[in-house]
């Protein structure tokens, strides 16, 4: 057990270091920098001074090590776009908006997705099943911004229920919340369905049924609890998935969240912000996966890796 966890943490660290090096070197080799001006170029001396001030004249590996050292001390530097505030504050400010809407999105997506998946697994090839499969396929394969546009057409332009965008008051929140939850609900429904289908074929379900247990009890206590294990694998990364989903939802509905800053940071060659956001997303995702792997070995006796000579 201990060796497995140590091994897993080791490979997690290796992956993380590789990712940071890749991203850092890619950011570094993107042509053009924040101080390259075409009109009114800086004098070489002034430019040299600025480069020196930001430490951009040092060799690549020095810059990388220095950056990582600062990151470990939670000092992400300042965004070139808003030099007036610390990066941590900028992220806190924008993440609050995205997390609020995204969290509410997941709040409806998780129960609905689980329910749809369970129902379609209990009655495979029924009308409900086809409906769920179609819905799941739709939300998974059609980009969220296309669905958002359909929503704008129906609810804003057609029915005039909600404004087309903006961020102020519950009326403007409804459509973004629906949009945030679409993809998670679809993918949850699909995974729950396949996971439940697999479990419902297990002999112990037959045993439970033949014992005369009521159907709902077999499903909630015997099938769903076991089906939940693989579902957790995709459920946890959803929380980090909000951050990438926010890029489109926030562009369509004009919401001042993390996603908008991400896009502009790429256009404006805002290395500190872009590096920070990338690191932020990657570390949180990698940590989730690590947690899932360790969690697995604890809760599922079949995946237990110790004591088998491995």
């Amino acid at each position: 057990m201990a060796t497995y966890i140590i091994k897993r943490i080791f490979s997690f660290l290796v992956s993380l270091i590789m990712v940071t090096i890749i991203i850092f070197s890619m950011m570094h080799s993107i042509p053009g920098g924040p101080f390259d001006e075409e009109k009114m170029p800086l004098s070489p001396a002034a430019k040299e001074k600025i480069l020196k001030m930001y430490g951009l004249d040092k060799p690549f590996y020095v810059q990388y090590l220095k950056y990582m050292w600062n990151v470990l001390h939670l000092n992400f530097g300042k965004s070139y776009q808003s030099p007036g505030e610390e990066m941590v504050d900028l992220i806190k400010r924008t993440l609050r908006v995205s997390a609020f809407l995204g969290g509410l999105g997941l709040a409806w997506a998780i129960p609905i997705g689980l329910l749809l998946g369970i129902i379609s697994a209990i009655k495979p090839n029924s009308f409900v099943d086809y409906l769920c499969t179609a819905l799941a396929s739709y939300t998974i394969s059609v980009p969220v911004y296309v669905s958002s546009i359909f929503m704008v057409f129906i609810f804003s332009l057609g029915l005039h229920w909600f404004p087309t965008g903006g961020f102020g008051g519950p009326k403007t929140w409804v459509m973004p919340i629906i949009a945030y939850g679409l993809f998670p609900s679809g993918i949850l429904a699909r995974y729950t369905r396949s996971s439940m289908l697999e479990i419902l074929n297990e002999p112990y379900i037959l045993t439970a049924k033949s014992k005369g247990l009521p159907m709902w009890r077999v499903i909630t206590h015997h099938a769903f609890r076991n089906a939940l294990i693989p579902i957790l694998t995709i459920m946890l990364p959803m929380f980090t998935g909000i951050m990438t989903g926010s890029i489109f939802v926030e562009k369509i509905f004009r919401i001042p969240g993390l996603g908008g800053y991400f896009v502009t940071s790429i256009y404006k060659r805002d290395y500190p912000l872009e590096m920070t956001l990338m690191l932020f997303i990657i570390v949180s995702l990698a940590l989730t996966y690590l947690a899932i792997d360790i969690f697995y070995t604890i809760i599922d006796p079949r995946v237990r890796l110790w004591g088998k000579g491995r």
Partner: protein, 292 residues
């Protein structure tokens, strides 16, 4: 056992696969829609009134759909129906070429990882892990800022971010195929690893390869549309649905046709392709087939 005796079983398999796919109504509908789209894309010059970049209708700017312009006219006087139809060419081209390139990255890597295990497997799986941990869209955005946009670049970049599923599928398949008797027999008579891998194992892994390929296409199309939507995809005037939607967004309150039609076409294409992929997967996966 040689390849010939296996292929006899293959014909039977194909028939059974088709029978199974035939039962899947959504898959059939998807197949129909995609055939229609391919047909429209091939005969685009015959069914559209103008080329996709021709600003022929400058006196009818932003006109709503009418008999002469089925999908209306856009903000710079181009027939919108032509642009949407030529957009099928771009989308399908991006989707299929990306999938093929991804196949050429994913299959060898997956096969090597599954066959040799050990250090090779570890390395490949770490690579897969890295690419899977970062959402593909982010990697694609990074690569675009690095290499620039444009059709060719986009296709290569999308291939670079979409080979992992195929790789995983193949690795899993090779891992089980490796333990089959014929593989062990081939090893016992002294066949070299590469011969076993490419002559004996990969031809038997055709099902996951096809499924991986078909499931990769809609993903690539979706990613291209997303990049184009953000303004870093295919360069104008090449018609790309994502870009058309993004441009139309500015006028959505007044000229609804500019966003609606490309959005519908994009949704239909991606949906149909993933229905086909799902149908194929169900039909080709014998484990699922027994259950149903």
């Amino acid at each position: 056992m040689n390849v010939k005796t296996l292929s006899i079983g293959g014909v039977d398999d194909k028939l059974q696969t088709w029978r199974c796919f035939h039962k899947n109504k959504l898959g059939l509908i998807g197949l129909g829609v995609i055939f229609m789209f391919i047909f429209a894309a091939i005969f685009a010059p015959l069914i559209t009134p103008a080329g996709y970049a021709e600003q022929k209708y400058l006196h009818e700017i932003n006109n709503f759909p009418s008999r002469s312009h089925w999908f209306g006219v856009d903000a710079v006087g181009r027939d919108y129906f032509s642009r949407v139809i030529y957009g099928i060419r771009v989308s399908l081209f991006v989707g299929f070429t990306t999938a093929f390139i991804a196949l050429f990255i994913g299959v060898p890597l997956g096969a090597l990882a599954g066959y040799f295990k050990g250090a090779v497997d570890w390395g490949v799986m770490r690579l897969v892990e890295i690419f899977s941990v970062i959402p593909p869209l982010l990697v694609a955005i990074l690569f675009v800022t690095l290499f620039g946009s444009g059709l060719q670049n986009i296709i290569f970049i999308l291939a670079l971010v979409s080979w992992m599923d195929i790789c995983r599928l193949i690795r899993g398949e090779i891992l089980t195929l490796k333990e089959r008797e014929y593989s062990i027999a081939a090893k016992a008579i002294g066949a070299k690893p590469y011969r076993i891998l490419f002559r004996h194992l990969l031809p038997n892994a055709v099902a996951p390869i096809i499924v991986g390929l078909v499931l990769c296409v809609p993903n690539a199309i979706m990613l291209e549309a997303m990049l184009s939507f953000l303004g870093i995809g295919v360069n104008p005037p090449t018609p790309s649905w994502g870009q058309m939607i993004s441009n139309g967004l500015y006028y959505i309150q007044f000229y609804w046709h500019l966003t609606l039609f490309p959005a519908i076409f994009l949704a239909l294409t991606v949906l149909s392709l993933s229905f086909i992929g799902d149908g194929l997967r169900d039909a080709m996966d014998p484990k699922l087939r027994e259950r149903r």
